[in-house]
């Protein structure tokens, strides 16, 4: 199976690889997936007092498409408010990276990671968590 150019580009030059301080109140961390399934994504956001995402970092254990999906997600997150970030849909990632059907689960995982990071931030800052999508699984 050949990878799309965009997947290769993100895979070769992943954006925003790294770690934010998960104990900081302004940082939301999402850790999704499982080693047994072959994919684990950790996505972190740093949010300012206006609920704007000022920084995003990721680390991913997984195939090229999983790495590319999380790299792309961090790019899209920066500069969005946490409410805007919730509108990122896995199918947007599929489209942008031209993922084949067998790799759609990578984009689903990225969407889950975004929502999970936002929830972590919300709960830390006294907001009610949003409902996690379950329909994909």
């Amino acid at each position: 199976m050949a990878y799309s150019e965009k997947v290769i580009e993100h895979y070769t030059n992943p954006r925003n690889v790294g770690t934010l301080n998960k104990d900081s109140k302004s940082v939301g961390t999402g850790l999704v997936g499982a080693p047994e399934c072959g994919d684990v994504m950790r996505l972190q956001i740093e949010v300012d007092e206006n609920n704007m995402i000022t920084d995003a970092k990721f680390k991913t254990f997984g195939c090229g498409s999983a790495i590319a999906s999380s790299s792309l997600a961090t790019e899209w997150l920066k500069g969005k408010s946490i409410d805007e970030a919730l509108t990122i849909d896995n199918m947007d990632i599929v489209e942008e990276l031209a993922l084949p059907p067998v790799k759609i689960h990578c984009s689903v995982l990225a969407e889950d990671a975004i929502k999970s990071a936002i929830n972590d931030y919300r709960v830390k800052n006294g907001m009610a968590p949003i409902e996690m999508p379950k329909s994909h699984h």
């Binding site: 290769i8 850790l31 047994e36 254990f61 999970s116």
Partner: protein, 403 residues
């Protein structure tokens, strides 16, 4: 050195130029049908086939009449297992095999289960070898066939074939082996090993694709299989269909070359394999899968913990290797062979198989070592699991979100 480097010789091998040369006339002026008995075109083709049959027989220590040409090892596995089941069903319906067999064996057995066969799938030990006591305990009066592979395609372990054959025979059952990865790589002698039926193919030993062999013993005991393809009664009635003359000639030549060059080649390849393996296991948290004493000379299967196999292969784009990772298959399940060894799913996802071959050079292995090390380190920098491991977090204690 040309890139990419081919290190997937368990999937298929390149055609040896000497094999191609032997085949070429049979595509052009020696185009006859080997079954045409009435003219020179047929005779010439038949001569080519007869000579190939001799070359095959010499390699595995059998007689020419025991060589049944097929389209490959999958067909030979099907013919051997289904053919024995049909032929010997009055004697019994029990077949014993192992969980690490190739799908050509496993799925054939599953098919026969629907037709009334009872099949025992022996588990393997951590090193990939079957437990002979378990085999013996599984044998019954109904057992007609024990079919256990010679060398494994993913991890290269060599089963104790002689001992398995002895147990099968003690209970009056036949012993069959899928020797696709072993024939031509290590000495295989059907008499010394006690083999009654044996499947293998040309394209794993520098011959062409689309041709293989089922060896069927004719003496002590005389084994019969019911044909699975009916027609003109070729191959002693066991496999009808016009013979693939150029393919068969190529298979014969490939067998001859393997017979003459196997010893040297095995020494050279196991030295290269060891060099590769030693260098790569210098990396932290990397593990060799399968028994390292009883194994084929040209295979190394290594798990690099905290790195996912497909992602890793993408980083080694100049190396053609394969992985036990789920992502390389449509099923999303990691390798059932590695799981049979008791490997956890995450280690199975992290495995890479290097299959060396006749045309692999030391320079290529050096390149593969550097390329793999770089890729593993790069992906570990990206891996949250590696970071957690380095922080001393016990990953097995984390409640992972299922997906």
């Amino acid at each position: 050195m040309e890139l990419p480097i081919y290190l997937d010789n368990n999937a298929t091998t390149p055609l040896d130029p000497r094999v191609l040369e032997a085949m070429l006339p049979y595509f052009t002026n020696k185009f006859g049908n080997a079954a045409s008995r009435n003219h020179a075109f047929g005779w010439v083709a038949e001569e080519g086939v007869d000579y190939a049959r001799e070359q095959v027989a010499k390699l595995i220590g059998c007689t020419e009449k025991e060589v049944i040409f097929t389209s490959g090892a999958t067909e030979a596995d099907n013919l051997g297992i289904k053919g024995v089941f049909e032929m010997y069903q009055e004697k019994g319906n029990h077949i014993i095999t192992a969980t690490t067999e190739h799908k050509a064996v496993l799925d054939t057995c599953k098919h026969l289960e629907k037709l009334g066969a009872k099949v025992t799938y022996l588990k393997v030990k951590e090193d990939g070898l079957i437990d002979l006591q378990e085999l013996e305990a599984a044998m019954t009066e109904q057992t007609i066939l024990v079919t256990i592979m010679y060398g494994n395609n993913e991890i290269g372990v060599i089963q104790p074939v002689k001992e398995i054959a002895a147990i099968a025979h003690k209970f009056g059952a036949l012993f069959m082996t899928d020797a696709t990865q072993a024939v031509g790589k290590i000495p295989v002698d059907v008499n010394a090993d006690g083999i009654d039926l044996m499947a293998f193919s040309a394209h794993k030993m520098y011959g062409p694709k689309g041709v293989g062999v089922l060896y069927v013993r004719r003496k002590n005991p005389r084994v019969k299989v019911t044909a699975q393809i009916d027609g003109g009664g070729h191959e002693r009635g066991m496999r009808s269909g016009t013979l693939n003359v150029p393919g068969i000639v190529g298979l014969g030549k490939a067998c001859e070359l393997c017979r003459l060059e196997m010893d040297e080649e095995a020494k050279r390849l196991s030295a290269l394999r060891d060099k590769l393996e030693n260098a790569l296991t210098e990396l932290e948290e990397s593990y060799v899968n399968g028994n390292t004493q009883h194994r084929l000379p040209h295979v190394a299967n290594i798990s690099f913990k905290y790195v996912e196999g497909e992602g890793l292969m993408m980083a080694m784009k100049d190396l053609a290797v394969s992985s036990g990772s789920a992502c390389t298959s449509a099923s999303l399940e990691p390798s059932y062979v590695l799981k049979s060894l008791g490997l956890s799913d995450d280690l199975a996802h992290s495995s890479i198989r290097y299959g060396l071959g006749r045309f692999t050079t030391e320079e290529e292995i050096d390149y593969a070592i550097e390329n793999t090390k770089k890729a593993v380190n790069h992906l570990r920098d990206l891996s949250p699991l590696w970071e957690m491991f380095k922080e001393g977090i016990d990953l097995s204690k984390i409640e992972w979100a299922e997906h």
